[in-house]
Every structure is written in C-alpha cells, then in structure tokens.
C-alpha cells in the first residue's frame, strides 16, 4: 500500500477493523511515517473527545415508567388471577345480597317490585311477575 492508501485506511486501522495482514503492514508504515502517526493521534484525540461528550443518561422519569411496566410484565399470571378472583368475589356478593334482601326485607323487595310494575304499566307493558 502507498502512503496515501494507508492514510485512507487509518480510520479502520484505528478501530482494529482490518485483517491481520493489513494491520501488520500499516503498523510497519506508521512506525516510520510521522504524517500517519500525527493522523492517528488526531483520530485518538477525536475519539477521546467524543467519548467524553456523547454519553447521556436516560431521563430518570422514562426509566421509572419502563421499570414500572417491567415489574407488571414480570407477573402477568398473578395479575390475571387477582382480577378473576376479585370479579368472582364481587359476583358472589351481589348474589348473596339479592338473596338476603328477598329473605329478610320482603317489604322492601315487594315495594321495589311494585314500583317497577307501576312504571311498567304506565308504559303499557305488563309487569309480568304479579
């Protein structure tokens, strides 16, 4: 490779992205060529500057939102089981309340039924359950 070709490959060389043959050839050239050495120094100064200035931590709020979601995602089974159990318990409660209301508060039950029938007959519909 000529000096010019090597100069063009220094970016790859700097990154260690050349094959062994290219790496050996360029190393030998750089040892004797001040211009290419200066070029490599500039590349490493650039790299150092970028490494200093580029990093930016993720916003804390974003990370918190994602972590909250991750924790949810971690226990989908638990969550759906809980939802089912709560729904089932609520259904049982409603049924029991209905049964209890009919048994222990017959007057309340029949007055509610009367209201319903009254409303139904004003609409011209049969209350059905008389």
């Amino acid at each position: 490779m000529t000096h010019e070709e090597i100069k063009e490959s220094l970016s790859d060389y700097f990154d260690g992205q050349l094959g062994p043959a290219g790496t050996v050839e360029i190393s030998a050239h750089v040892a004797t060529c001040p211009e290419c050495r200066a070029e490599l120094d500039a590349l490493s100064a650039l790299s150092a500057g970028i490494k200093e200035s580029l990093p930016a931590p993720a916003p804390a709020a974003m990370k918190e939102r994602l972590l909250a979601r991750a924790r949810q995602e971690n226990k989908p089974l638990f969550r759906s089981a809980t939802v089912l159990a709560v729904a089932f318990a609520a259904l049982i409660l409603v049924l029991m309340a209905g049964v209890a209301a009919k048994k222990y508060m017959p007057t309340l039950f029949s007055s509610v039924q009367g209201m319903i029938n009254g409303a139904a007959s004003t609409l011209g519909v049969s209350g059905g359950n008389k």
């Binding site: 500039a42 650039l46 500057g49 200093e52 924790r71």
Partner: protein, 175 residues
Amino acid sequence: MSPEELIEKYSDMAYCLALRLTGNATEAEDLAEEALIKAMKGLPGFRGDSEPGVWVSRIVANCWKNQLRSPRLAFWRRLGGFNSTDGEEQTVDPPDPAPGPELQLEGASRREAFEKVLNSLEPRDRAIVALRELDGRSYTEIAGILSIPEGTVRSRLSRARKKLRGLLGGFLEEK
C-alpha cells in the same frame, strides 16, 4: 434476562443512540421508550443469537426508521417545535434544521463544541459514530444494526471523522 434487567442494563444505551438518531432530547425519549417497550415484549422470543446490546440497538434503529416513514412524525415535529422541555433534561441543543457550513463554535466549551459538530452530521452518520465510539461496536455489528453494507459503515465513518476534525480545529488538541 428479566424485563427489569433489560431496562436497568440498556436504557442508557438505547437513549444515547436515540439521541444521536433524532438529535433532540424529547424525540429521543419517545423513541427510546417505544423501542424498549418493544424489546420487553420481544424478550421471550429473543434467542440470544446476537448480543443483547446489538439486539436492542437494532430495535431502536428500526423504530427510528419506521418513524421516519410515518406521516405522524412530520406533525409531531411541528408540534415539538412549540413544546417547551424542562431544562434539566435538555442535554443537547435541538438540531439545526439546516446546518450551515459555518458552525458557531467561538466561546464554546470543548464539550459544547463536540456536541455541536456531532449534531451537524447526518443522523445516520451520528448513529454510526455513536455505535462505534460509545458502544465499541464492530463494523459488522453496526452494518447489521442500521441495515447498511459494511463498506458503507467503513467509508461513512472515515468521512465523518474527517469532517468532525475539520470542524473542531483547535478544540481537538484542547484538554
């Protein structure tokens, strides 16, 4: 890897890459969040045939490409122009809509100068530089993440470095 580990380990990396791709803190947060949610969902199917960092980076890059294609972004960008972001999260200047050849670097600190010249690169070149310098990705990995040929990574990186050096001038030697 649990979803929590994924977030703990790769949030910063995903955000950093998103920041380089979008050049703007608000959009970067959106992009990184979208990508990390996708990664969490995809976690059960992730077989580990690539390094997790490469896999997450690729999701970020793909989400970014999809956003570029969607008309929603054009609207969003306009909206974003009126959004005031809280100062502490705004770590970079919003991108110059038409970065002219003359960058105002006088009086800038070394860090500001680097930020400015990096933001003057094309988004894809910024991403290549970030993947190389921050994540230490190989050219093959960068090519895979951004779905571009390896030769393109090579030549663009070399050209971007030349451009950065030219723009930085004296800031490069400063310590």
